[in-house]
Amino acid sequence: MPQLLNYLKETASQTAGPYVHIGLIPAMAGFDIFEKNFSNVLVTPNTKGECITLEGNVVDGSGTPLRDVLLEIWQANAAGRYNHPADRSAGRLEEDFRGWGRAGSDFESGLVTFDTIKPGAITDKAGRKCAPHVNLWIVARGINIGLNTRLYFSDEEAANAIDPVLNLVEPAVRRKTLIATRNERAGKVVYSFTINLQGPEETVFFDV
């Protein structure tokens, strides 16, 4: 018998369940416990870049929006730089922009919103420009392992057309499931998205 590699195995995922808010957004469960809370607001008055709202639903196979889903986003700043030591790119780092937020869907409408800034384009290891995007992670009752997807921006047509990840999506007709639509509402920029868990418009999910 050859030598053993002895790697450990990743701990199995389990659903976040219907009461995920208790641990991750206690105010939504109906109580106040922590001195400091995480939220769906990523921006401070000092954050550089275009302020935007991401707004959308996660929809099940019957066409019904999930009303107990939790989303997290992870994104670069307006200069295309992630606030993490493994990002060695040249863009300017902003210490007070973590680039991460979490939101629970509204218990009635299922709507999820984030107040953030539009991230800048990113340069990958091979030096290719990647279109601006927000990384999304989705957990809920009935979702056994967190779902990874991305949101790209409808007004970045040229950048999206050469983005190396979007170009991996086949058939190409599914690429549109990753693109949030830009609207302006009362002077605010809103990008709308729909995550379809199933059906002909099923969103592209990634095994990252």
């Binding site: 199995a12 109580f31 196979g61 992630y82 979702i143 967190g146 999910f205 095994d207």
Partner: protein, 261 residues
């Protein structure tokens, strides 16, 4: 002149680059056979909420090997003490327990300074949540959530009361085994994980429709925390040990510092 000043030109640059075993910082490919399937009909909620198309495999880019960084400034002093962090006029009812362990990656290295969040029902199996209507009472002294940052070795611990089992609508007589929910970050967003910890000896484990979504028996067993009498506090609290393994990471070198090593 400072003898330690770096040379302006590295003489090696004029030679062919030596072969070195430098990783790209990407994570080990996720072994999906260790996880529940998305579509697991025995857990009925998964039927309408499971993607049906194949996942698109993505080699890790900077978007996946990076992730949010948390620090002690994000936490309060009572965040890892569920016995005290919501106490109004006394301690919560239930078996006092300590839960402790390490967050490791698949190479066995501890994952330092990473955020671990946990939430649970009270000793009667009732959650402090406006959508939970189970008839067991709310405990006025128990919130049911907490969080901790691992230390330099990946170690975490917290104090709580043992949660109770509770019924739920899957089959008409489905009961969840006692469990604590865990959320863990790791160093990159691709390591993000939510799971549940169960307790050694619980007879509801083998009949739980959520636990049995995991096809691999050993993977299921690794979610069961053993009683750890050595870590208990005599005349005060029992202890359970729960180690959590996140995906391994290939090395990457930058600024003479090794990440993932």
């Amino acid at each position: 002149m400072n003898a330690q000043a770096p040379a302006l030109r590295d003489p090696r640059l004029n030679r062919p680059e030596p072969f070195t075993l430098l990783g790209d910082g990407g994570f080990f490919q996720r072994d999906r056979s260790m996880h529940p399937t998305a579509h697991a009909p025995g857990y009925k909620s998964s039927v309408l909420r499971s993607p049906r198309q194949a996942l698109l495999s993505l080699e890790n880019s900077v978007s996946e090997i990076t992730g949010p960084v948390f620090g002690h400034n994000d936490l309060g002093p009572l965040d890892n003490d569920l016995i005290r962090n919501y106490a109004k006029d006394g301690d919560p009812v239930g078996e006092r327990i300590i839960v402790h362990g390490r967050v490791l990656d698949e190479t066995g290295r501890g994952v330092p300074n990473t955020l671990v969040e946990f939430w649970q029902a009270n000793a009667g199996g009732r959650y402090r949540h406006k959508k939970d209507t189970y008839l067991a009472p709310i405990d006025p002294n128990f919130g049911g959530c907490g969080r901790a940052l691992t230390d330099d070795t990946g170690y975490y611990y917290f104090r709580t009361v043992k949660p109770g089992p509770y019924p739920w609508r899957n089959y008409v007589n489905s009961w969840r085994p006692a469990h604590i929910h865990f959320s863990v970050f790791g160093s990159g967003f691709a390591q993000r994980l939510i799971t549940q910890m169960y307790f050694e000896g619980d007879p509801l484990i083998s009949v739980c429709p959520i636990l049995t979504t995991i096809p691999d028996k050993d993977a299921l067993d690794r979610l069961v925390a053993p009683l750890d009498l050595n870590a208990s506090t005599p005349f005060d609290s029992l202890a359970y040990r729960f180690d959590i393994v996140l995906r391994g990471q290939r090395s990457t070198y930058f600024e003479n510092r090794t990440a993932g090593n």
